[in-house]
């Protein structure tokens, strides 16, 4: 059986260093001890005083509150252009220049919050952490703030309206015109 105390120790020490340890990874490693570990982690998080946020977290929070895309903020802060990210994706996965447009479109969808970062393939997530020099947790956790929908609009939604919304959503979603690229951005990991 995995040593729950050891896992808790590793995770808590990483927090102490100001890192963003992957809580899910620790819990999965605990196997049958997952319940015990999760309980320890949760109680510890309640008791631990909050830490001072680093300047980057403050900037990401500002972008989120202003309705801007935190991922764009992160990229710009690193001085990385969107084209540079696209180039890195093409090179990493040996995709030819004819795939540039579709990769760029998918990446744009990701930055604008229309793709769920939790669906990124592990390989692409790893690449983005290197290119953007940020932990995976930042990419996964900072999503664009949903725009407000007027209460009247919510209340008035009908079957017909739902059909319109659905059609619009399909139109916004990237067309599945490149299965290999799509699998990088929308995976079942």
């Amino acid at each position: 059986m995995p040593d729950v105390a050891q896992l808790f120790d590793e995770w808590a020490a990483a927090l102490g260093r100001g890192e963003r340890p992957d809580a899910l990874s620790f819990i999965r490693r605990a196997g049958a001890g997952a319940d015990e570990l999760a309980t320890m982690m949760d109680r510890y998080l309640r008791a631990r005083p909050r830490t001072e946020p680093d300047p980057e977290t403050v900037e990401l929070a500002r972008a989120w509150l202003e309705g801007n895309a935190p991922l764009v903020q992160l990229r710009v802060r690193r001085g990385v252009t969107r084209d540079a990210v696209v180039d890195a994706v093409l090179e990493e996965f040996s995709l030819g220049p004819d795939r540039r447009a579709v990769v760029k479109r998918y990446y744009h969808e990701l930055e604008s919050g229309r793709l769920d970062p939790a669906r990124l393939s592990r390989q692409l997530l790893d690449l983005l952490t290197r290119v953007l020099e940020t932990p995976a947790a930042s990419i996964l956790a900072w999503r664009p703030r949903p725009l407000d929908v007027a209460p009247a609009l919510r209340a008035a939604r009908s079957v017909a309206a739902d059909a319109v919304f659905e059609t619009a959503a399909r139109a916004r979603a990237p067309a599945p015109d490149d299965e290999e690229v799509r699998a990088l951005f929308i995976s079942e990991r």
Binding site: F8, L45, L65
Partner: protein, 170 residues
């Protein structure tokens, strides 16, 4: 241990510095939501927690408890709704109150690391402070405290068992 941060939060609330306030709690909210859901849906829950906290701040709502307690209670409330299949992407109900919403309010309000570790020997608390407070490696803890690595391992192990037991009893 919480007092200084609670005072800082009160100042941020008064100044309506919502950016600093939400940034300060970002990591703990995300970690708690992931631990609570144990899968990637924790990121969605965390997003909805922040939406709820932000809406409350924009409404200018005030609380009779430290903001830390509000944050933890919104996490609890949102996780509970998530597991009962209720929508979490909507604002908190009008009149939602962290004290009323809490059946374990005293635990959140009063619990800090000092109280968790209060019964540990002084040496073990020093080890925990360096290991978890500063994130030092075991060898670094040993060097800082002038102990052998084995002594630190033993102290950490004993402290760990105690901490796990204490946490489990909370």
């Amino acid at each position: 241990m919480h007092d200084a941060r609670d005072a800082e939060d009160a100042l941020l609330l008064e100044a309506r510095d919502h950016v600093a306030l939400l940034a300060a709690y970002h990591d703990v909210v995300v970690q708690r939501c992931l631990v609570g859901t144990r899968d990637e849906s924790g990121y969605d829950v965390a997003q909805n927690v922040f939406m709820r906290l932000w809406k409350e701040l924009v409404r200018g709502k005030t609380y009779g408890v430290p903001y830390r307690v509000v944050v933890h209670k919104v996490v609890d409330w949102t996780l509970k709704q998530h597991f009962t299949g209720r929508p979490t992407d909507v604002p908190l109900p009008e009149g939602w109150d962290p004290v009323d919403a809490s059946d374990a309010y005293a635990e959140v309000e009063g619990r800090d690391l000092d109280s968790l570790w209060a019964d540990l020997p002084e040496g073990a608390r020093e080890v925990l402070d360096l290991r978890y407070g500063e994130g030092l490696e075991i060898d670094e803890v040993a060097a800082r405290l002038g102990k052998t690595r084995n002594a630190v391992d033993q102290a950490l192990h004993r402290a760990h068992d105690t901490l796990r037991g204490r946490i489990g009893d909370a």
